[in-house]
């Protein structure tokens, strides 16, 4: 029983990392309607910035994280301006391919700057782990911080979308960008803002990912990025609470699948569950059913 609870805790810990990445993913998808395959690599850049500033230059972790958030925000906006904005009216596939190009680009830039060697990331979380039931169940500080950060970000995003002017502009753009423009919403700056927020979240996700799993290479972001994409789809892409739930569930399924079914087939299990969920609910757990108009 303790074993099970312990797996569950580890699952939530992994899931919260997926969730925090998925929040950024789903946000960009919901508004810009594009699969940003480069999101995982922005996460990697965010982690490298913290690595350079905290472990390299010796700045306090908080400052490092702030610098990373600013750097990723600027990076995200630059990517949007240079690579995605010219393709606003192009087919979705063209944008997808460009995003893949950006992903390759970021990976190779990091490879040239930092080299291929693994870096060990020092956790920025200074909270002591909580030990329950005579030490048979340990909840690490990183897990606590990630879960809390996740919930705060989720609530923050939902509030922002609902009550702030720019948030409602985002909702309007996601609903119908043409109509939103007619109503006086500046679609371009709204999408730029979305990328800024999404990339800032990526920086935070990168820091928390590498704090929990302290190894950093130029390819660190790509697999968690794909998993987070899966999580976002799982919860219903475009839905903010959906991304949270999807991420947590994905982490828990991955860990429990490894623990009780087969550690060799962990990936297959995760993807099989995803397929089953989508077949039952074709737009994800919390996705909206879009009625097709004739």
């Amino acid at each position: 029983m303790i074993g099970f609870i312990s797996y569950l805790v580890n699952g939530i810990s992994l899931g919260s990392v997926y969730a925090i990445i998925a929040l950024g993913y789903t946000m960009v998808y919901g508004i810009a309607k594009m699969l940003n395959f480069a999101h995982g690599d922005v996460i990697m850049i965010g982690a490298f910035v913290v690595f350079s500033t905290v472990s390299g230059a010796g700045l306090p972790p908080v400052v490092g994280v702030l610098i990373s958030v600013v750097a990723c925000t600027l990076l995200g906006m630059a990517i949007e301006r240079i690579a995605y904005k010219p393709l606003r009216k192009a087919s979705k596939l063209a944008v997808l391919i460009t995003a893949i190009g950006v992903s390759y680009f970021l990976q190779n830039v990091a490879l040239l700057i930092y080299g291929a060697n693994t870096k060990s990331f020092t956790s920025v979380v200074a909270i002591e782990p909580i030990s329950l039931m005579d030490g048979s169940l340990v909840i690490s500080g990183e897990t606590i911080v990630t879960v809390i950060a996740c919930i705060i970000i989720m609530i923050g995003l939902m509030t922002f979308m609902k009550y702030s002017k720019s948030g409602r502009a985002m909702l309007a753009v996601s609903e119908d960008s043409g109509a939103a423009q007619l109503m006086g919403v500046n679609v371009n700056s709204t999408i730029a803002l979305t990328f800024a927020i999404g990339s800032a979240l990526a920086a935070i996700a990168g820091v928390l990912l590498c704090s929990s799993y302290p190894s950093l290479t130029p390819y660190t972001g790509s697999m968690p990025g794909i998993k987070a994409f899966v999580a976002a789809v799982f919860g219903g892409i475009g839905s903010i609470p959906g991304a949270f739930i999807g991420g947590i569930l994905l982490g828990v399924i991955e860990i429990l699948g490894k623990a009780y079914i087969s550690s060799q087939l962990a990936d297959a299990i995760v993807f099989a569950v995803l397929i089953i969920v989508l077949l039952v609910k074709p737009t994800g757990l919390l996705g909206r059913q879009i009625q097709e108009k004739v």
Partner: protein
Amino acid sequence: MKTKTRSLSKTTRSNLITYGMVVAAYIIVEIFLRAGMVSSLLEGLLVPLCMYVILAVSLNLTVGISGELSLGHAGFMCVGAFTSAFFSRCMETAIPVSGIRFFLAILIGTVCAALFGILIGIPVLRLKGDYLAIVTLAFGEIIKNVVNVVYLGRDSRGFHVSTKDSISLGLEQGGDVIIKGPQGITGTPNDSTFLIGVILILVTLFIVMNLINSRTGRAVMAIRDNRIAAESVGINVTKYKLLAFSVSAALAGTAGVLYAHNLSTLQAQPKNFGYNMSITILVFVVLGGIGNIRGSVIAAVVLTLLPELLRSLNDYRMLIYAVILIATMIFTSSPGGQEIQERIKLFFKHRKTKEA
């Protein structure tokens, strides 16, 4: 009536140009090969080029003609590669004539991939857009993951399968482990040749282009453009979608057979059968023009050669590749880029009329 015949002849002409292009490329390369003027690099790339062309054309059937974004194309390729390599390994002594053996291997790989296409297509094609994309990606990853844990050996008592390791197969002395988990299948006969590759390209083109210009193809495109309208005129949506999807999967399987019989080792790694490969093929299709078969052929050739030609740039190779990819997309798909293209076209037209 008149317009119809004219448009028909136009497509036929266009198709003939595409076939002609492939044949001409084959003849030119063959002449250069005979003259010994082809570098080893290009010689080694000939079969992979054929493989990528088949993959791109077949994916264009799903993405361009049927309008479904599939990110699991490499999964079908994996099925074709492993089933055919398994067959060839088992039959290497039983069928010593490589031509017959390879022909059967191609059939087996293609049919198995088609079966997987149907099996996966039935549930998947109920989904739409990005949900469909992610489920195809998921299936591709499952196939890769499962292949990686299969151990299959043969001894005098028959076949033994395990998902743990080769020891638990319990083979007799002298037993042969054919599929060895992550190490896959080694020692597949190198039966793929450029000629067979080109023939397979022509067959692929023939199947895909005829499909597009047939009643079936028009039904598929009608579904792509407006599913509800197509349904209302009595088109069986599931049937046609599934047909296009499984033909596409089957051809990917054919490409997998070429792949497996070109290298002596076959492993299912993220690099060759993971979503990365599916995305690489998708890049060919999009860059070549969605729904444009000839474009797929050209894009597959150019983009496969590009990273190899950039080898002299060493560390900057993949970086430059990424920049070229982004720049091409912006040039071909953005309003600004299209304007430049228009201007170039106008410039040439202008000159032509002047000359005339």
